[in-house]
Subunit: 430 residues, 2 copies
C-alpha cells in the first residue's frame, strides 16, 4: 500500500481546506501513515468556476459515480453538505468498499446510525470528527480519551453563529437584530440564519454527541429546542447584574438510565469556563462520573480548522488500512433510550416579569413562590418609569421542570403580573 487514492465530494470551504492540506503537507502525512495520499477526483457543480486552488482543475467532475463507483479510489471524503444526495453517495461508496469521511452534521444527526451500520457491515471506516466542533477533537475525546469513564452530562457551545451573536450582544449591549445584520455582513451568519438562530444546528450536533457519550440512539425529535431570536438586551443585562452570562448551549444529561437532551439559551455563572468561550469559538464541557469536569475548546468552524478534523480522520483511515482493521472503530448505540420525564429534569430558572408598579406587587409574587414551596436564590426589582411598571427578575433554587411549569402558569395568571417576558434555565452551578 504505497499509495492511497482519495475522491472528494464537494469543493467548497471545507473541501478547499482539505485539498490545501493534502497538497502542502504530503510529506508529513507520508511520514505519519507510511503511504502517499493522492487526490484522484473532485466532484463539483460548476467545473468552470474560478477557484482559490486551480492546480486540480483536470480532476474536477460533475459526475458522482466518477468517485463513488471508481475502482481506483480507496477513500471518499464527503464535504458537499445536504442530506439526500450525500446519503446516497455515501451508501454507494460503502457498497463499493470505500472508506468514508464526512463533515456533514445534518446527515450524521439524521441518518448516522444507518450509515454507520452500513459501514460496519462492509468492514469500512466511517469517520465524522469534523461534524461537531470543527477543529476540536471532541468525538475522539469521548470515544478514546474518556473511554473508561461514564459521562453524566455534556454542556456544549456547538454553534458559532449564535455564540458570536450572544457574545456581541453581551459585550457591546446591542440588540439581536443589529448583531445579526453585522454577523451576516461579516459572513459569520448565513443570509437565511434560521437553522443556526433557532437552535436546529446545535440540536443536530447534540444528537451526534449523545450517541457517542451515552451510546443511546437519540433522534432529533427527542431534542427540546429553543433558539435565541427572543433573547432581549434586558435578559443579558439582568443576567450580568446577577453574575451570569447567557449562552446558547446544548445539554445532554443521563441520570438513572434516563436521558434528556435540549438546546436553549441558558444562564451560566460568569466564572464557569464555558462563560468565557466567546465569538465563533466552540467548547464542549464534559462531566464524567470519575474524571470530573473536562473541557474541549477551539474553533467551531472555518476552512482550515474543519479540514484538520477531516484530514486527521483520513490519517486514522490510512493507519487502519495499513493494519487491516477498518470498520473496527464504529460506535453504534448499544443502550436503550428512555427519555427523562419532566418531573425529574432538575434545574434552576431565571424569570423576568413585567409587573404593575403598585404597593405589594413584589410581595404577591414572592408569596406565590412561598405558597408553592419553591425557594428563590436571587430577586431584583427595578422600576421602568417610562412604562409605569416594574421589572422583576428572579433566579429560583433548583426545582424540576414540571413544578416550574406549574408555577410559571400561576405567575402568569397573577393579577399584578402584566407579562412573563422570559424564562431560561440556569446551569453550571454543580
Amino acid at each position: 500500500m504505497d499509495k492511497l487514492s482519495v475522491g472528494l465530494l464537494g469543493f467548497g470551504t471545507v473541501g478547499t481546506g482539505v485539498v490545501h492540506l493534502l497538497t502542502n503537507e504530503q510529506e508529513k502525512f507520508r511520514q505519519q501513515t507510511g503511504t502517499q495520499i493522492l487526490i484522484n477526483k473532485i466532484l463539483v457543480k460548476d467545473p468552470d468556476k474560478i477557484r482559490k486552488i486551480d492546480q486540480y482543475n483536470q480532476l474536477l467532475t460533475t459526475e458522482p459515480s466518477d468517485i463513488v463507483d471508481n475502482p481506483e479510489i480507496d477513500i471518499v471524503i464527503e464535504v458537499m453538505g445536504g442530506i439526500e444526495e450525500s446519503r446516497k453517495h455515501i451508501h454507494t461508496a460503502l457498497k463499493n468498499k470505500k472508506h468514508v469521511i464526512t463533515a456533514n452534521k445534518d446527515l450524521m444527526a439524521l441518518h448516522g446510525s444507518e450509515l454507520l451500520q452500513a459501514a460496519a457491515n462492509q468492514g469500512c471506516d466511517l469517520y465524522y470528527e469534523a461534524s461537531v466542533g470543527g477543529g476540536i477533537p471532541i468525538l475522539r475525546g469521548l470515544t478514546d480519551g474518556l473511554a473508561a469513564d461514564r459521562i453524566k452530562k455534556l454542556i456544549g457551545i456547538v454553534n458559532g453563529t449564535t455564540n458570536y451573536i450572544l457574545s456581541k450582544m453581551s459585550h457591546h449591549s446591542v440588540s439581536y437584530e443589529e448583531v445579526l445584520q453585522e454577523a451576516q455582513s461579516l459572513g459569520f451568519a448565513e443570509s437565511d440564519p434560521s437553522s443556526d438562530v433557532e437552535g436546529l444546528d446545535a440540536a443536530r450536533k447534540m444528537v451526534i454527541l449523545s450517541h457517542l457519550a451515552y451510546s443511546i440512539p437519540v433522534t432529533l425529535d427527542d431534542v427540546v429546542v429553543e433558539g435565541i431570536t427572543h433573547v432581549a438586551e434586558e435578559d443579558i443585562l439582568y443576567s450580568k447584574k446577577l453574575g451570569y452570562t447567557i449562552k446558547l448551549v446544548g445539554i445532554a444529561e443521563l441520570d438513572n438510565g434516563e436521558i434528556d437532551v435540549r438546546v436553549a439559551p441558558t444562564l451560566l455563572p460568569t466564572n464557569h469556563p464555558l462563560a468565557s468561550v466567546d465569538n465563533e469559538y466552540n467548547a464542549i464541557y464534559v462531566y464524567g462520573h470519575s474524571v470530573g469536569e473536562t473541557m474541549f475548546y477551539g474553533p467551531g468552524a472555518g476552512e482550515l480548522p474543519t479540514a484538520i478534523a477531516v484530514v486527521s480522520d483520513l490519517i486514522s483511515v490510512a493507519k487502519n488500512m495499513k493494519h487491516g482493521i477498518n470498520g473496527q472503530h464504529i460506535f453504534l448505540p448499544q443502550n436503550e433510550k428512555k427519555l427523562k420525564p419532566a418531573d425529574s429534569i432538575e434545574s434552576q430558572y431565571f424569570l423576568r416579569l413585567h409587573v404593575k408598579d403598585e404597593p405589594g406587587a413584589l410581595s404577591k409574587i414572592t408569596g406565590l413562590f412561598n405558597e408553592q414551596e419553591m425557594s428563590l436564590q436571587k430577586v431584583i426589582q427595578e422600576p421602568i418609569v417610562s412604562k409605569k411598571l416594574a421589572e422583576v427578575v428572579i433566579i429560583t433554587h433548583t426545582t424540576n421542570q414540571q413544578r416550574f411549569e406549574q408555577i410559571y402558569q400561576l405567575l402568569a395568571d397573577l393579577d399584578v403580573v402584566i407579562d412573563v417576558k422570559s424564562n431560561y434555565r440556569v446551569e453550571g452551578m454543580n
Copy 2:
C-alpha cells in the same frame, strides 16, 4: 482472547483508582473491548497496610517478578512512581512481551525514548496518557485529534499545586508562604514541595508534550526552568491592575525548525482562556498552524481522574490486542533538535523596579528604553511612602530575549534604580 490479565506495580492513590474502576466497571469494559479484564497481582511495599479496597488482599505481593516475569500476566500497569526501579520493571515486562501502561511523568520525561524504543522493538504497547494533565486526554489530542496539523506553540498549566497557590494568591491577596502552608495542610502540596514550586514537575511534563507535539527529542536539560517561590504579592497586584493574571506555565514553541521549551511564572491577559483555569485544574492551550487555537481542560491529578486516563489506555491496549496491532502506535521523536537562540526567542516582558523617589527618575528609565529603541506598552509609577521610594512597573512591547537581557542589565545599573524586583514574560497576546 476472552480474558486479559493485568498486574499492577503500586497500590497508592492512582493504583487504588485503577482497581476501583476495574472492579466496578467490569461489564462496561467487557462491552468495549470484548474481553474480561482481571487483576492478577498487585505489587505493594507493605501487604499488611490497611487499604480502602481490601477485596484483593490475596493478590498482593512484595516481589516485582511475580508480575513482570509472570507468564499469566498480559499487561503491566506501573503506578508506583520513582525512576530507577520502575524503569527496570518496565524493561523486564517489555522483555517478557507484556504491554505497559504508566502514569509516571518523571520516568517518561527522563527515559521515555529509551522505553518507547524497547516497546517498539518488542512489538509491545507503551501508553502514558496519565503522565500529563491527569484526566485530560491531551496526548491523544496531539497524536490523533490534531494529527493533521503542525503545532507551533503549546502553553500548558500542567502543575496543579502551583496553579492552586497562584490562584489563591491572586483571589485572596495572600502571600506565597501563607498559601503554601494552607495547601500543605489540605494535601494540595507535598511536605517537600520543591519539585512542584520550583517548576521541575511542569518541566518534565513539557518534555513529554514536546516529544509528541513536535517529534523532537527534547531533554530536561533543554528546558529553562523558573519556579514560583519568588512571586510576590506586588507582582500579582500590578499584573491585575494592568489586566493580567500570573500563571506558572510551560511553553514549547517551534519556529523555523528551532525549538524553545521553558517553564516560568508568566503574565496572561485576564481574558485569555488559560487565565481562568483556577486552583488544581490543568489546561493545555495548543496553537496549530491550521486549526488555530484549541484548549484541553480538566483535573490535572487525583485518584479517579488519573485512573480514567490509565484505564482508557488499558482499553486501547485491549483493543490493539484484539486486532493484533500492538506496538504500532508508538511515537518516537523523528525530527532533529535545534534549540532556538536567545536572539530569536520573542516575547513581551513585565518588569517591576524600585526606584529613587526623586524628580526625573521615571524619565531616566523611559529614556533608557527609548535610547535602546525598545518601546513600552504600559507603565505605572506609584510611590511607596513608607520606604521613601517609588515602584515602577513596565510592560514592554515584543522584543527578543537577548535584547531584553541587555536592557535588564543597563536598567539595573542605572543610578536611579534601587533594585529590579521581578521580571516575567507576557504571553497569549498573539
